[in-house]
């Protein structure tokens, strides 16, 4: 019976993989298309115009990608730095008014970001943060910190603190227990939370435009202008680059997190807290 079940789940996996992959097929075709008119199923002429556009020296793509990577990377790190202690406090301990604090932490994703960003923009102008990379980085934290905090809350809610107690009786200070026991245990969850923050920041358009004022050009901004410029080759090329981190993350996750382990340690009860 077991091989049958396994074959079944393989078939299921194949269907899911196909559903994910199929939308990328036209993107791939368009990227390398020279001429592609209506009745043809595939392009009638091929070209490397998209690739040249990407690698063009002094072109915008390299700079925008670098900007996006740096900002999203910094946002992921900062979100973890804030979200880890928050998750520990909210998931690991019971205290009064915890519900209120959880609500406050979640407020930024409950209130439409556009509304709050208008106010933030005014403040940032006064502080000289508007039109700067630092300002964009800060405003990206508005949606990412609540997500990381909530993911890490559920990670810590699954922990009993018993391993840390053992470590303490064996001579570990609270800090050593955190470093040697807690951190390695929650590492997969932290990685997932960091990835979330990275992808949220990576995909951010409105907040970047509002606070960056067009000064800070990121990949989504190029993608938007290409999409409205009606050039499917450039749009598809950018879209592929844009999708790359998510695909990479998926591959890494599949490679390094065994499915069972992911359930046990990494992706624990994401739905439980929210």
């Amino acid at each position: 019976m077991i091989p049958l079940v396994k074959r079944k789940s393989n078939a299921g996996l194949a269907i899911v993989a196909a559903l994910v992959a199929i939308p990328f097929v036209p993107l791939f075709l368009w990227t390398f298309a020279g001429r592609w008119r209506f009745p043809n199923l595939i392009p009638s002429e091929w070209s490397l115009r998209g690739v040249y556009y990407l690698l063009e020296p002094g072109g915008q793509v390299l700079g925008a990608t670098t900007n996006s990577l740096l900002i999203a990377g910094a946002v992921a790190l900062a979100s973890i730095t804030v979200g880890l202690p928050a998750g520990m406090a909210l998931g690991g301990y019971e205290w009064r008014f915890k519900g209120v604090v959880i609500f406050v932490v979640l407020l930024p994703i409950i209130v439409p970001p556009l509304a709050s960003t208008m106010g933030i923009h005014l403040t940032f102008i006064r502080l000289g943060l508007a039109d700067t990379a630092l300002g964009v980085f800060l405003v990206h934290l508005v949606p990412t910190v609540p997500y990381t905090a909530i993911i890490l809350t559920s990670v810590f809610a699954e922990r009993t603190g018993e391993l840390e107690e053992v470590a303490r009786t064996l001579g570990a200070s609270p800090w050593q227990a955190f470093l040697h026991i807690t951190l390695p245990e929650v590492a997969p969850g932290v990685a997932v939370a960091g990835l979330f923050a990275f992808l949220i920041s990576w995909g951010q358009y409105i907040l970047t435009v509002l606070i960056g004022g067009g000064n800070i050009v990121t990949l989504p901004m190029l993608l938007f202008s290409a999409a409205s410029g009606n050039d499917p080759v450039i749009t598809s090329t950018l879209a592929l680059v844009f999708a790359l981190p998510a695909v990479l993350a998926l591959v890494v996750a599949l490679r390094y997190l065994k499915p069972g382990e992911a359930n046990e340690r990494g992706f624990v009860g994401l739905g439980k807290v929210s």
Partner: protein
């Protein structure tokens, strides 16, 4: 190496509720193994956590080698604790787990040798490179024991370490713990809800009900001289006889009975172990009818009745008596024990 441990009026409340531990005072001599015995929720684990420094008691004092350890953090107490679950660190292999305490205390020379010695002690040599997940429950618990002992603790705390194991493994582990405790001369506090386990392992037993110490004595005393009806019942006593103590003897419905230990005066309850009852004439004897007989292989359990009072006796199997027979029952003076009330 082994230390004397004293608890003085230790009280602990979680939040505002009833105290989980109230006014606990006891002394554990160096190298002694004391069992904290009681039903679940009686405050045993709380007491252990107080000793380990994982909980700060609401009031009271704990002294090790005569000096107070209040305010000393767990990592500085040198008390190793083995928990109910093995709680091995899942991201380290067996050697990593056993060596954890040594690494935290910064001693790295000879640590490899100490790890292999500790594993040998618990008969887990050759498992150093395994991951915890590859071990059975019993093996994991033995590694946990090695991990605690390798730090040469002043105090060894065991929190029902065998309760998750099956019966065979449990008795094997008991022997191992007893042997290691004797060899290392560790002052040990052992929490259990299993009366049999406490009797087998402990030098002295501290019986706790609802956070209060009921009795602290050698195991034998819990059978022979229980401190109260509750204690006697917890240790399986079934024979209780009301009476009134006057002039060195106790007047009961079965006649005047003489006690070797006169005990309290006034209204008393007498108790006697089923094994101590004799079927013969003599001092403290009376006639009784056999109500039922249950053959258990090594013993026969009889229910006897006299003057409307039920008495249970456990006798060697070669004495075979029939239900309905009338016999003489003697309650030996040295085995009768008087309780107040």
């Amino acid at each position: 190496m082994s230390a004397r441990l004293e608890l003085e009026n230790v009280t602990h409340c979680y939040g505002r509720g009833e105290p989980a531990l109230s006014d606990l005072s006891l002394t554990v001599e160096p190298g002694e193994l004391v069992a904290l015995l009681g039903p679940s929720g009686c405050g045993k684990t709380t007491a252990l956590k107080v000793l380990a420094g994982l909980l700060s008691p609401s009031s009271g004092d704990v002294r090790v080698e005569g000096s107070s350890v209040m305010g000393i953090t767990p990592e500085k107490r040198r008390t190793a604790m083995v928990f109910q679950k093995p709680l091995l660190f899942p991201h380290m292999n067996v050697a990593g787990n056993v060596g954890f305490g040594l690494r935290m205390r910064g001693s790295t020379e000879d640590s490899e040798q100490r790890i292999s010695e500790a594993l040998e002690q618990v008969q887990m040599e050759g498992f150093a490179d395994r991951d915890p997940g590859e071990l059975s429950g019993g093996q994991q618990q033995r590694v946990a024991l090695a991990r605690a002992l390798v730090t040469s603790p002043k105090l060894l705390l065991l929190d029902e370490p065998f309760s998750a194991l099956d019966a065979n493994l449990r008795s094997e582990m008991r022997k191992l713990v007893k042997r290691l405790q004797r060899e290392g001369d560790y002052t040990t506090v052992f929490v259990t809800h299993d009366q049999e386990e406490a009797v087998i392992l402990a030098d002295r037993i501290a019986l706790l009900f609802d956070g209060e110490l009921q009795m602290y004595d050698r195991p034998q005393a819990f059978y022979d001289h229980p401190a109260s009806m509750e204690v006697a019942r917890f240790f399986g006593a079934t024979n209780f006889l009301e009476g009134r103590a006057e002039n060195g003897s106790v007047r009961t419905r079965l006649g005047d009975l003489r006690l070797e230990n006169p005990g309290p005066t006034g209204d008393v309850t007498l108790t006697i172990r089923p094994e101590a009852i004799r079927l013969e004439k003599g001092e403290n004897s009376f006639a009784a009818n056999i109500i039922s007989a249950t053959y258990l292989g090594t013993q026969v359990h009889y229910a006897l009745e006299s003057h409307g009072i039920r008495i249970r006796a456990a006798l060697p199997p070669h004495v075979r008596l029939e239900v309905g027979e009338e016999v003489s029952v003697r309650l030996p003076a040295e085995s009768l024990w008087a309780l107040e009330g």
